[in-house]
């Protein structure tokens, strides 16, 4: 690991540290029992098996969205429709599970794949619009999220709704389709393995396959990719579709693993969480589980903190925002980055001269 990478890790850790400090500061300002709040935030998840289990459960959808967005951003296309893709994935999984009767094992697998397909459509639409009409992906992808939300609320209220249940929720998904729990005493479900597999597959895809290579080159320098013979239009589309599929699968897995009914009446925010995860993971799927764990831990800690003190969970959203700002700011600690890089370059030259 060269010193440039080491510095990057240091910068990231420092950014996280500063963000946490600022958040602690806010807690001190607004809470009557700040110390207790911070202790709960940082150590709450370790206090019981169930609580730690909460961390792992929360990590699962974050891994999917982190991997999905890493692939989409690798092509340098800012497609933010992952949020909608995840949501539609959950809806599609519910609908499919309720309306088909497949045997065990096949049922969840097929359902998850359908969810992935729907996710692909959500991110694919803005990508296709960019190709056919040259419209900006940023705005069209944001619109997709709202469209999916209202569409799925409609479907929930009018088609899937279980009148016998108290709240606005769908019928229960057949247990044959649900993903079982792995560890007793927690709600951690089989989706964990699928998520970790997705991270591994995402990594292999981006760094070991032809397509992944093409995507990365296109993302780094589109003109260069085109000049080299890469079909940048096709490759960009592939990256958006693939990423959207992973988002959709994430939604399906979350639904089948953590819920037994479709209950989402608002956007869950996993699309925005994905941004912070990919920022921390440097767009590399293999680091996504680590970043996802960190965020999940923070979230769970915040939830525990909010239940036993007067600080609300939203403090963590603020922390996330600060982390993004600091990590992405190139000039953050850039003076040191330059010093180290020029030291390395000089050393390299000296070595070569000596040959």
């Amino acid at each position: 690991m060269n010193s440039s990478t080491k510095l990057n890790i240091l910068r990231t850790l420092l950014a996280v540290f500063i963000a946490l400090l600022i958040s602690f500061g806010i807690i001190f300002l607004t809470s009557d029992e700040p110390v207790k709040a911070i202790v709960q935030l940082l150590t709450g998840p370790l206090q019981s098996q169930r609580r730690f289990g909460n961390v792992i459960e929360a990590m699962i959808p974050l891994i999917f969205t982190g991997v999905g967005i890493s692939i989409m951003f690798a092509a340098n296309e800012i497609n933010l429709a992952g949020e909608g893709a995840f949501h539609l994935g959950g809806l599609a999984a519910t609908y499919f599970a309720l309306n088909t009767a497949l045997p065990p094992v096949i049922s969840p697998i097929a359902t998850i794949l359908i969810a992935g397909l729907c996710g692909m459509i959500v991110t694919g639409i803005p990508a296709l619009m960019k190709i056919k009409t040259e419209s900006d992906v940023l705005v069209s992808s944001l619109m997709m999220n709202y469209l999916v939300l209202y569409f799925s609320t409609y479907v929930l209220s009018n088609i899937l709704r279980d009148p016998a249940a108290g709240a606005v929720v769908s019928f229960a998904v057949p247990s044959v389709t649900q993903l079982g729990t792995i560890f007793n005493g927690t709600r951690i479900h089989v989706g964990l393995f699928i998520a970790l597999a997705a991270a591994a597959i995402g990594y292999i895809f981006l760094y070991k396959t032809k397509l992944g290579y093409e995507i990365r080159v296109t993302g780094e320098n589109r003109e260069f990719a085109r000049y080299s013979g890469i079909n940048v239009v096709k490759i960009t589309l592939v990256s958006q579709l693939f990423g959207g599929a992973i988002f959709g699968i994430g939604g399906g897995v979350e639904l089948l693993g953590m819920y037994n009914r479709f209950t989402w009446t608002s956007l869950l925010g996993y699309g925005w969480d994905a941004i912070i995860i990919t920022t921390l993971a440097k767009k590399n799927p293999i680091y996504v589980p680590l970043a996802a764990f960190f965020l999940a831990y923070l979230r769970t800690g915040a939830s525990i903190m909010s239940r036993s003190t007067d600080v609300v969970t939203e403090i963590v959203t603020i922390t996330q925002g600060i982390i993004i700002l600091l990590v992405v700011a190139e000039q953050f600690l850039s003076k040191y980055k330059h010093k180290i890089i020029s030291k390395e370059a000089k050393a390299a030259l000296v070595e070569k001269e000596g040959e």
């Binding site: 806010i26 607004t30 800012i78 619009m129 056919k132 009409t133 040259e134 419209s135 900006d136 940023l138 705005v139 069209s140 944001l142 619109m143 997709m144 709202y146 469209l147 209202y150 569409f151 609320t153 409609y154 209220s157 009018n158 925005w272 941004i275 912070i276 920022t279 609300v312 939203e314 403090i315 963590v316 959203t317 603020i318 996330q320 925002g321 600060i322 993004i324 700002l325 992405v328 700011a329 190139e330 000039q331 953050f332 850039s334």
Partner: protein, 306 residues
């Protein structure tokens, strides 16, 4: 029956109302984009300023003072964004996403801390900018009903279309902003500091957006509700882009989206399934964006002889 409703003066009146926040934000987007920076933090700025509008108007017991203070907050956020993008070289989209995230969390936190309310600012005695009826205009048949009896801020927003237009196209500062956006290197070679100009444009952008935010909780509605910006900041981005980033163009497009919003408000009361109706503003934006971009693409292709 719907057609009659659409062409009724009440509907057009409602359209103007709904257009106001989008228009403010769209103008904000124009100024920023003209200087070459995308301000995607409009959503967050509107949310922040909707909350602060309520807090300040209650604290000062004056809607106008509250508005001024809120505009300062909006300007500050714009400046903050500029700082991260220009000085710390943060990617403008990611910085904006960070600001939006912080806005989501902070508004809930601050609301709770300041008033103990969760979700809606019921216990804050905030004041709103009132609606007025214009004396002579209100008697004009049809148009009178549309134009009169609007919130003062609505009139302000319409005036701002002209103001921003004049600012961008008739003042030296506006020229510099456009120059930097058009060709940063060329502008710098004649001595314009592109960073300074962008700081200014982003700050102004924040101020304009904050007027829209203030209106949301201090005119359109009377209280602050969490998440009340509801994507308007993003719609405003589209409006700006589709309007060619010109004040007049964005105004026309904002009207379109305002109409969609007003339509969805009306239809929700009727027999149409209200979830689908709520999709209206977003679908309109999406399709409108597609049509606009497509025609621009075709024009470009024709001009370059493809």
């Amino acid at each position: 029956m719907i057609i009659e409703a659409v062409f009724s003066p009440e509907f057009l009146n409602a359209t103007l109302r709904a257009t106001t926040p989008i228009l403010f934000a769209a103008l904000a987007s124009c100024i920023a984009s003209k200087s070459g920076v995308i301000n995607m933090a409009l959503e967050g700025i509107m949310l922040f300023t909707a909350l602060f509008g309520v807090i300040f108007s209650a604290a000062f017991q004056s809607a106008w003072l509250g508005l001024l203070a809120t505009m300062a907050v909006g300007g500050f956020i714009g400046f903050f964004l500029a700082f991260f993008v220009l000085r710390l070289k943060t990617d403008e989209i990611l910085a904006a996403i960070a600001i939006n995230l912080i806005a989501n969390g902070a508004t809930i936190l601050i609301l709770l801390y300041v008033s103990g309310d969760r979700g809606i600012s019921s216990s804050i005695p905030s004041l709103i900018i009132p609606r007025v009826t214009l004396p002579i205009i209100k008697d004009i048949p049809f148009l009178g009903q549309v134009l009169s009896n609007q919130n003062i801020l609505t009139y302000v927003s319409l005036i701002m279309v002209a103001v921003v237009h004049i600012f961008l196209y008739r003042t030296p500062l506006g020229l510099k902003i456009r120059a930097v956006g058009e060709n940063k290197d060329a502008a710098e070679s004649v001595g314009i500091s592109s960073d300074k100009i962008r700081y200014i444009s982003l700050t102004l952008s924040g101020v304009l957006a904050s007027m829209g935010g203030f209106f949301l909780s201090g005119g359109y509605m009377t209280k602050f509700t969490i998440g009340m910006s509801a994507g308007r900041g993003f719609i405003a981005l589209a409006a700006g882009a589709m309007g060619g980033n010109t004040p007049i163009g964005s105004f026309l497009v904002s009207l379109l989206f305002g109409a969609a919003q007003a339509l969805s408000n009306i239809l929700q009361l009727g027999a149409w399934p209200h979830e689908l109706v709520q999709m209206l503003p977003y679908v309109t934006t999406l399709i409108g964006l597609g049509i606009y971009s497509y025609s621009r693409m075709k024009k470009r292709q024709r001009l370059t002889g493809k």
